[in-house]
């Protein structure tokens, strides 16, 4: 699984400039800019309703900001449809579970490979030949991911019957199967206990180590954020109120007030 995209000379992989997003009267994002650099983990924190998910949705093309620009690998993706953004190498996991519950784990991951598959409908129709060769080739990639995430045992289980933690892992696997240039994760650890968070943290760290994919992480667990993030951006009421290293953020009084509470994490 080598990176399919040529390395970028520019340090910034994903960059959002002055995003403005409104829903009726509500300003979900107000003049928000962020940069994600090569090989870093950027965490985004903020109170509920601050606009974190909205920002992720803008970055992945699901919401279209009213103003501002988003570039991925130097190309503007603001006008692109969701699937085109994904085609540019952006993968994400979801806040709730948005998993294909009618399919097995393998199939879910194979959907992630869709971007890299090329056979046409006619070839699928006459399955034996190109379509089967392609299936097998991509199945090998998927098996690597299955092994990496340690979900061999549930390979053929329908995900509808899996517990929450495993689903999250499949969700991550599916994003990894896309072989992305950047990975966005929206609250991957919500609803997990410490042990499971540790597991997932380990996978995230491994992803960064082995595959060197920059990650944008939205998370409410301060322990996770402070330990994993290289940099943190803080949103409140749709505005970015702070950005910096975990240390700086922990010391920032505005952040304390808006987010962490007076007594800190």
């Amino acid at each position: 699984m080598t990176a399919a995209h040529p390395a970028h000379h520019d340090d910034v992989v994903l960059s959002a400039r002055n995003l403005l997003l409104q829903f009726g009267g509500i300003v979900a994002l107000n003049d928000v800019s962020i940069d994600v650099r090569k090989d870093e983990l950027l965490a985004i924190i903020g109170p509920n309703g601050a606009g974190k998910s909205s920002l992720m949705n803008c970055l992945s093309g699901f919401y279209r900001p009213k103003k501002g620009d988003i570039t991925l690998g130097g190309r503007s993706v603001r006008q692109m449809a969701v699937h085109e953004v994904a085609g540019q190498g952006l993968a994400r996991t979801f806040q709730g579970t948005h998993i294909f519950s009618g399919m097995t784990v393998v199939e879910n991951l194979m959907v992630g490979r869709h971007l890299h598959m090329r056979t046409n409908l006619a070839q699928s129709f006459f399955y034996f030949g190109a379509a089967r060769r392609e299936e097998v080739a991509h199945r090998e990639v998927v098996e690597e991911i299955i092994e990496f995430l340690e979900i061999e045992a549930i390979r053929h289980a329908p995900v509808g019957s899996l517990g929450y933690g495993l689903r999250k892992r499949v969700d991550l696997g599916r994003a990894l199967a896309q072989d992305p240039r950047i990975l966005l994760m929206d609250e991957p650890m919500a609803g997990m206990n410490a042990e499971e968070k540790e597991d997932l943290a380990r996978f995230i760290l491994d992803v960064r180590e082995a595959k060197r994919i920059p990650v944008v992480l939205v998370e409410h667990d301060m322990g996770v954020v402070m330990d994993l993030a290289d940099r943190i951006a803080v949103l409140d009421f749709g505005r970015k109120i702070a950005e910096g290293t975990p240390k700086e953020i922990q010391a920032d009084p505005a952040v304390m007030k808006a987010y962490l509470g007076e007594d800190g994490p």
Partner: protein
């Protein structure tokens, strides 16, 4: 000790006639206390709650063994509506607001069992307890932020004038301040005499509020005790609170790549 409000005895729950999700658990919830149910993902916590309120019947599940008694009456397999009428409300996982309805309509629906006359008073009482909701009363519930939705579903449960509220993961996906606000509300409710059964992943806050706790794993209760003793249990500290033996918070950076075997499995 007086007899508990809710008592589970060797309850087994089966999904789709094939998946045994809860394999015989027993638990008690005494009146006026807060009991918490902890456990890893898939341990069967939500299933247990759904078995008590009998919402599992909507998911092709059923209680195959054991008894569930509420106020001394066996309620296993009963009608969910009767459970509410007896004074037990189940707040489901995932902030299930009625998305297309306004906040106030959500609350009104929550109080549909009471008489029309005290509805107004009850509504004001809930608005009084949860000030934030009052300001949001005409907003469409589906567009509220996560924390507001969580407050709304708790408020909606209160509208049924319950004796016992079962809450599934109230802190799920909430920011620290919001967690405090929700738990603040819960402790006020407890102080006002409400009995609480809380399923939680956020072990720290849950054990702070709760009087007693059960730890579930693989559909069984593997550990139980007063929350103070749970808090000092080594395994709970390591696996649920994420603390080192010395009481330091472990860093997520230097995770070992193997796991220590849990003592209760051995």
């Amino acid at each position: 000790m007086e007899s508990p409000v809710l008592e589970l005895n060797n309850v087994e729950v089966l999904y789709s006639d094939v998946i045994l999700a809860v394999k015989g658990i027993s638990a008690k919830v005494p009146a006026g206390q807060c009991v918490t149910l902890l456990g890893a993902n898939g341990a069967g916590k939500s299933t247990t709650l759904k078995a008590i309120s009998n919402l599992i019947k909507t998911e092709d599940g059923r209680v195959t063994a054991g008894t569930i008694s509420f106020d001394g009456i066996d309620i296993a397999g009963g009608n969910p509506a009767d459970q509410v009428r007896r004074g037990m409300v189940h707040v489901m996982e995932g902030r299930k607001v009625l998305r297309h309805m306004t906040v106030e309509q959500n609350l009104v629906v929550g109080g549909h069992m009471g008489s029309g006359r005290d509805a107004r008073a009850l509504l004001d009482e809930v608005y009084g307890r949860i000030k934030r909701l009052a300001a949001l009363r005409h907003r469409t519930a589906g567009y509220l932020s996560g924390g507001e939705q969580q407050l709304l579903v708790i408020g909606r449960a209160l509208m049924a004038k319950p004796k016992l509220v079962m809450i599934d993961e109230p802190s799920l996906g909430l920011a620290p301040l919001m967690v405090e606000e929700v738990y603040g509300l819960l402790s006020e409710l407890k102080a006002s005499g409400l009995t609480l059964l809380i399923v939680e992943q956020n072990t720290r806050v849950a054990l702070e509020l709760a009087d007693y706790g059960y730890v579930m794993e693989g559909g069984r209760v593997v550990l139980e005790g007063p929350s103070t003793s749970l808090r000092s249990n080594e395994d709970v500290r390591e696996f649920y609170l994420g603390l080192t033996v010395e009481g330091e918070r472990k860093s997520f950076r230097d995770m070992k790549h193997y796991r220590r075997r849990k003592r209760w499995l051995g």
